[in-house]
């Protein structure tokens, strides 16, 4: 049973969108080779749901500093169509 830490403030039950298991530490503090860059879509894809939304920090487990960098990189990638705004873009 994954350790079921109660998210602070949320009602007793776990938030319904618990598709992501709770990551322990921040990925970027642990593994230095990983850079946050708006051009590297592959690393950013870990932090976006299938619908294209940014995963909140409490689920992605990032520290505040890296989460802000990830958010900024994702928004820049979206701006130049490397990443979608929402998954539902119909592509002609």
């Amino acid at each position: 049973m994954a350790e079921d830490r109660k998210p602070s403030g949320a009602a007793g039950r776990t938030p319904f969108k618990r598709r992501f298991t709770r990551r322990k530490g921040c990925r970027f503090c642990a593994d230095k080779a990983l850079t946050i860059d708006y051009k590297e879509v592959r690393t950013l894809r870990y932090f976006v749901t299938e619908r294209g939304k940014i995963v909140p920090r409490r689920i992605s487990g990032n520290c505040a500093d890296h989460q802000r960098k990830v958010r900024e990189a994702i928004k820049r990638a979206r701006n130049i169509a490397l990443m979608p705004f929402t998954a539902g873009h119909y592509l002609d």
Partner: protein, 122 residues
């Protein structure tokens, strides 16, 4: 002197020498404005994540250049005028050119990048 990184998406219909003409034109614009181009990378035609100007694809050009802050406004003004550029984005690189940024599609080469590129909004 600040280092900027610019990505522009050229209309997919512009191919071959027309495409080269557009890329060459903006290299000329940069040189004319007194910027020194540190690196130029062309990723070729890629699928866009969402339709831009009714196009599903576009060719990406990445340019890293160094110059006075004033030239970016002029550079972007020229890009807005040019119809063949459907989207562009210029970003200030905080600490200059780090390890060569791998193209989004190219496999990640495993250089030892010391610390992440801290880029704040332009």
């Amino acid at each position: 002197m600040r280092t900027y990184e610019n990505i522009l998406i050229v209309h997919p219909d512009k191919v071959g020498d027309e495409y080269a003409a557009v890329v060459g034109k903006f290299q000329g614009v940069l040189n004319e404005l007194g910027a020194t181009i540190l690196k130029q990378e062309e990723w070729g035609v890629r699928k866009l994540a969402y339709p831009v100007k009714k196009q599903g694809r576009g060719s990406y050009v990445l340019t890293v250049f160094e110059g006075e802050p004033g030239i970016v406004a002029e550079f972007e003004r020229r890009m807005r005028i040019d119809e063949s550029i459907i989207k562009f984005q210029t970003v200030l690189l905080e600490n200059g050119l780090q390890a060569p940024a791998p193209a989004a599609s190219v496999e990640m080469t495993d250089e030892d990048e010391e610390e992440a590129d801290a880029e704040e909004a332009e």
